[in-house]
């Protein structure tokens, strides 16, 4: 059996990532590996709406704040989901990143310290842009470290 020292798992607080999280926790217990849960605050919304201050800065900023609040709530839900799942696990921590979710996960999947990245195919779709449906496919193409796609 392959022994992992560090496993990372993408968590978004939805039922879509529950299976991937359970799987990652099981593998971490079996290998006595450290487990990191990751949520990414999507930083691409400003570009996605493609709207500039001349249209109405108040409306634009109000919208971006609205999205930010929703994502922060989602990050808290993800943290809660992660902390419940890792109860009793020796080494586990949760991390909130910011940026393009696909790019951030690709970076994580290429870090030498990541022995395995566990990801649900539906991850981040609960709060994300349409292109995030391609996240799993891009990750599979670009990850240089072991990757486990579920769901």
């Amino acid at each position: 059996m392959t022994v992992y020292r560090h496993i990372a798992v993408a968590v978004d607080g939805s039922t879509a990532t529950a299976e991937a999280l359970q799987h990652a926790v099981r593998l971490a217990r079996q290998s006595s590996a450290a487990l990191t849960g990751v949520f990414v605050l999507d930083g691409n919304w400003a570009d996605f709406i493609g709207n500039d201050w001349q249209s109405s800065k108040g409306a634009r900023q109000g919208f971006l704040d609205h999205i930010r609040r929703e994502q922060e709530q989602q990050a808290e839900a993800a943290r809660g989901q992660f902390e419940t799942a890792v109860a009793g696990l020796e080494s586990a921590h949760f991390s909130v990143l910011a940026g393009d979710p696909t790019e951030e996960l690709v970076k994580l999947a290429n870090l030498p310290g990541t022995d395995l990245l566990v990801v649900s195919r539906q991850v981040f779709q609960v709060s994300g842009r349409p292109s995030l449906k391609s996240l799993a496919r891009i990750l599979a193409q670009k990850a240089s470290r072991p990757l486990l796609l579920l769901g």
Binding site: L41, D42, G43, W45, A46, D47, F48, I49, G50, N51, D52, W53, Q54, S55, S56, K57, G58, A59, R60, Q61, G62, F63, L64, D65, H66, I67, R68, E70, Q71, A98, Q125, V126, S127, G128, R129, P130, S131, L132, K133, S134
Partner: protein, 381 residues
């Protein structure tokens, strides 16, 4: 999570992107357009301009799309990113300068006609989306966002409405992707239809100003039909229609917010309704103020003669402003193309896509039929 670009602060980092945009437009206007105007393919004279109606506007957008989606594989490189972001400001800056095409009298003449048509279409579209949303059992937040996005001004309206109706990010994302996809399609097919039906600039401008959803896309479709910027051309008509629609954003946000909260449980806490006054301050489109200021200056004769048909010729200042506008719009539309992400559009789907296409197409076709029926009543300037 803002992404706004302050002009002077970001200018140095924006230079590479801006240089690429300017070079693209220079090559298109100085070499490609003249070449297209003389080229012969399979025995056909000027097929690219006569059959495909390609001009510097459409070519600019196509180049922008190619840069992002083909040349750079779906994402603008960091070195070009700030320049492309900054170029988006040029579209609205150009629309502000467009104010120099009109006097107050012309605005009143053209606007009084537009206000009836636009008002009618906004109310009809909102009612239609609310009804279809109920029929499809669509979430009330999503219905509210789609109602304003499809009736007024696409992305700006979706963005302005979402917080007020507690729309979720994923819902707004699908609404925006649908609107942008529909807008891009209409932006490219409208000039063909307009030419095929033998529309005048007045008819065409009234049609696309009513039927196309986004300001940038209305502008592009108008200039693709007739790239001249002067009183009475397609762009001068379409923009008045568009501005009438954009002005209605705060009012429509207010109406949809009232509708949304009226259907909610009274004990439900939340953002609740905002007053119309606060919505006007918060959501009023800034560029419209600039546009109206430009109209006022033009009416006071600050730039000399406007050059209305049958009147004295346009002053040198006005001619220079119009030349600048064609370049500014050209740069802005390369930037607009650079922000069309095929991945986002291809992944749109579900009920928002169905409702968006159904309502968007109904509005587009109804506006087309209407301008054919009322062509003798449309007011020219």
């Amino acid at each position: 999570m803002n992404g706004d670009v302050g002009f002077f602060r970001k200018l140095p980092s924006a230079l590479p992107g801006l240089v690429l945009i300017v070079l693209t437009m220079v090559v298109i206007r100085l070499w490609i357009e003249p070449w297209m105007a003389h080229t012969k393919v399979f025995g056909m004279e000027k097929p690219l301009t006569d059959a495909f109606h390609l001009n510097y506007i459409l070519l600019g957008i196509i180049c922008g799309m190619l840069y992002r989606n083909v040349v750079f594989g779906g994402k603008m490189p960091a070195v070009l990113d700030d320049g492309f972001k900054l170029s988006r400001l040029m579209i609205k800056t150009g629309i502000i300068l467009l104010g120099s095409l009109y006097t107050v009298q012309a605005i009143v003449k053209l606007g009084s006609m537009a206000i009836f048509l636009i008002g009618g279409f906004v109310i009809m579209t909102i009612a239609m989306v609310l009804w279809i949303g109920k029929l499809f059992k669509l979430d009330r937040s999503m219905t509210g966002v789609l109602a304003n996005a499809l009736s007024i001004c696409g992305v700006s309206a979706a963005v302005a409405t979402s917080p007020a109706v507690e729309a979720k990010a994923s819902q707004v994302a699908y609404a925006i992707a649908t609107i942008l996809g529909f807008g891009i399609l209409t932006m490219f097919i409208s000039p063909f239809i307009g030419h095929a039906l033998g529309f005048t600039d007045l008819q065409y401008g009234a049609w696309i100003g009513t039927g196309i959803l986004n300001s940038g896309q209305v502008l592009a479709a108008a200039l693709a039909f007739n790239s001249n910027v002067a009183p009475g051309t397609a762009v001068s008509v379409a923009e008045i229609w568009n501005i009438m629609r954009v002005i209605s954003i705060p009012f429509a946000v207010f109406a949809v917010t009232v509708w949304y909260w009226a259907g909610k449980d009274d004990s439900d806490p939340g953002g609740r309704k905002k007053s119309l006054g606060s919505l006007l301050v918060e959501k009023f489109p800034v560029f419209v103020i600039g546009f109206l200021a430009m109209v006022a200056l033009t009416s006071m004769g600050a730039f000399g003669e406007v050059g209305i048909k049958g009147g004295p010729p346009a002053s040198d200042t006005i001619k220079m402003l119009r030349l600048w506008m064609t370049w500014i719009f050209g740069f802005g539309l390369v930037g607009l193309g650079g922000y069309i992400d095929f991945k986002e559009l291809a992944r749109a789907g579900g009920t928002p896509l169905k409702i968006g296409l159904l309502v968007g197409m109904t509005k587009y076709v109804l506006a087309l039929i209407l301008v054919i029926l009322i062509k003798d009543f449309l007011v020219a300037i």
